[in-house]
Amino acid sequence: MRAVDIFIQQILNGLSIASVITLIAVGVTLIFGLTGIINFAHGEFLMIGGIVTWLAVSAGLSFPLAAVLAILAVGLMGYGLERGIFRFTLERPTNGFIVSLGLIVVLQHVVVLFWNPNQKSIPRPLTTVWEVGGVRIASVRVMVILITIAVVALSFRMITASRYGRALRASVEDRDTAALMGIPVRRYITGVFVLGSALAGLGGALLIALFPITPFTGGTMVMKGFAVALIGGLGNIYGAVAAGLILGIVEGFSAGYGFSQWTDAYSFVLMILVLLFRPHGLFGGTSGPRMAS
């Protein structure tokens, strides 16, 4: 295999890593950046999305239908948790953070209890592998990249150009004034939480299309999601995409050419540096969760 083929292959590898991370990061950046809820159980939402997809595919449903079910199920779960738990922590984000840590253990063990701790996988929804020169491109990875681009573009459009998005951003700037202007702030917060959760559901469906998952898959993914969200700038979808891309390429190249065992460390070193020198992220964002209004 020629060196140039290896190089191109590593760029393609980086893109697919970036797409999954970006999808998580967009959910994190929306929820954390726009509502102030620090939901560290977001990775478990992703895992539940994967489990729902696995259950649906095992029951004979097609992958697209299973993915839709995962989006709906995790979105509904997000609605229930926001209305039932997180809304009571909005004035005290630290409480919400602790609650989310507890949720990690609860959600993991509920899945272990009903479906055992072993790996779950589904047959690949697309199996074609294209070979261009010496480079191999798996169609399922291309599918994941394209879906991520479409979903992120839609979310970006919604946040930046829609009436809902403008109202949401106004709420982030000043909740009280936004409320006085007639914006139903609490309902918008619920909406963002449900949207972020649904994205995690989709992420889980896409993840299990690529790799097997376990009840404990969420942990690493959410750490990277938070890192990307912070590097890109909280609440900044464009920033999350750019940071996800940077991280994906950095991880791909470090594994391919550098000290492979340090691959994960690069993400977090980059996050620390960005937080030190650009506290609002590389591309600017909200100031993150406000402790009390």
Partner: protein, 406 residues
């Protein structure tokens, strides 16, 4: 008034029950053995096999009437604790089992560095401790295991790593050669970068070199990696005959489909992946794939005793796991320990150790399980290979007598 009467009757009943010699004897005749294992967290697929294997042995012993020690019959009771793949939890669980539950013996954990920490608690307390991990070789020396030594009560229920690596490497190369149609010369290892991965791979690297392999790179990946494509692309650039995924089984099963997609090598070896999982998941490959079990496979074993064992193991409710066979590193040793207690005629830890070192135990893994003077066992490892068409063949590989010269 009624409530007072009820309370009085209840209290009298409780006191009467406690004073009853039969009740007291029942409590006295229970011998508790502890299990510390990862029933959750990243090491769960191997971890949950420990209580399953120990629990099955305890049930078998109790169903057969228990153990007879010093003229009295005792039943065994397993007390298990989940270490959550977290070393602090493992240490706390061990302390609880030793100091509060007062177990007579401890099994686990399967996570190598955890066991080293646990031994710091079990050994001063003179608790007989079995762990199926080869890292114990670091501390099991003639000086430490002698009477009065700091690890006198610690036993390694897995062969020394040079033995396991040696038999595995030889088995992999032997089984893959006819399937490849030529003698493989170049190998690349892909290994999880944790204490266990680093330890195991250092031995396997030497074993491959001893078999004449050119090993240009050992590629370490961070634990919990799911996307292996950059690591595999790096391996592919070296044009290997075999990529060896050495540890752990779950990661390996995640990596293999990606390796096949990338066409990373001409053949693969998956450490700790049972051919039973290969068949159950209907896996397939267009190139030969070797697998090894720790120590005997449940899916396609060439060991006649293994089938009966795994039938009972799965019938007891244990899930079909990628490394279900790890349970055998514990199951056999509960029976071994029971035999030692019977032979010693006592639960005294020193007499128990003496008995353990003198017994030739008939287990599932081997008809002649014995501990050497440094408290380590020797037995074969089963290696299998799946041909591109799907046929799987397995063979037990005997370990080399000596470690390769480094």
């Amino acid at each position: 008034m009624k409530t007072v009467l009820k309370m009085g009757v209840s209290a009298a009943f409780c006191l009467g029950t406690l004073a009853n010699p039969a009740f007291a004897q029942d409590a006295d005749n229970i011998v508790k053995i502890g299990v510390v294992a990862a029933e959750s967290g990243s090491f769960v697929s191997a971890g949950h096999t420990l209580p399953a294997g120990v629990g099955l042995a305890v049930k078998q012993i109790n169903d057969a009437g228990g153990i007879k020690v010093g003229g009295k019959v005792y039943k065994l009771e397993m007390v298990k604790r989940d270490d959550r793949t977290d070393i602090a939890t493992a240490i706390a669980a061990t302390q609880e089992l030793v100091r509060d539950v007062k177990v007579q013996a401890i099994f686990g954990s399967e996570t190598h560095d955890f066991t080293l920490a646990m031994a710091k608690i079990t050994q001063p307390a003179k608790i007989v401790h079995f762990a199926g991990n080869s890292t114990l070789a670091k501390i099991l020396t003639p000086d430490t295991v002698k009477a009065g030594g700091e690890d006198h009560y610690l036993f390694q229920s897995e062969p020394q790593e040079f033995q396991r690596s040696g038999s595995t490497a030889r088995g992999v190369l032997t089984l893959l050669e006819p399937l490849l149609g030529y003698k493989p010369k170049k190998s690349v290892m892909i290994v999880g970068n944790d204490a266990t991965g680093q330890f195991l791979s250092s031995y396997y690297f030497k074993a491959l070199k001893a078999e004449g392999q050119d090993v240009p790179d050992i590629i370490f990946y961070p634990p919990d990696t799911t996307d292996f494509s950059p690591f595999l692309t790096r391996a592919k650039s070296l044009n290997p005959d075999i990529i060896h995924f050495w540890y752990n089984g779950d990661s390996t099963l995640t990596a293999l489909p990606q390796a096949l997609e990338l066409g990373a090598a001409k053949s693969y070896f998956l450490f700790g992946v049972d051919p039973g999982i290969w068949k159950e998941k209907a896996l397939s490959a267009d190139v030969p794939v070797a697998m090894s079990c720790v120590p005997v496979c449940w899916g396609e074993s060439s060991n006649p005793k293994a089938k009966a064992y795994f039938d009972a193991y799965f019938a007891a409710g244990a899930p079909h796991g990628v490394t279900s066979s790890v349970s055998l590193l514990y199951h056999d040793y509960v029976h071994f320990l029971a035999e030692a207690w019977e032979k010693a005629g006592s639960f005294d830890p020193d007499k128990t150790v003496e008995a353990l070192l003198s017994i030739h135990h008939q287990g599932v893994v081997s008809d002649d399980l014995t501990f050497n003077p440094t408290h380590q066992v020797t037995h074969a490892t089963e290696v299998c290979a799946a041909a591109p068409g799907g046929d799987i063949s397995c063979s037990m590989q005997q370990p080399p007598a000596d470690a390769p010269k480094s």
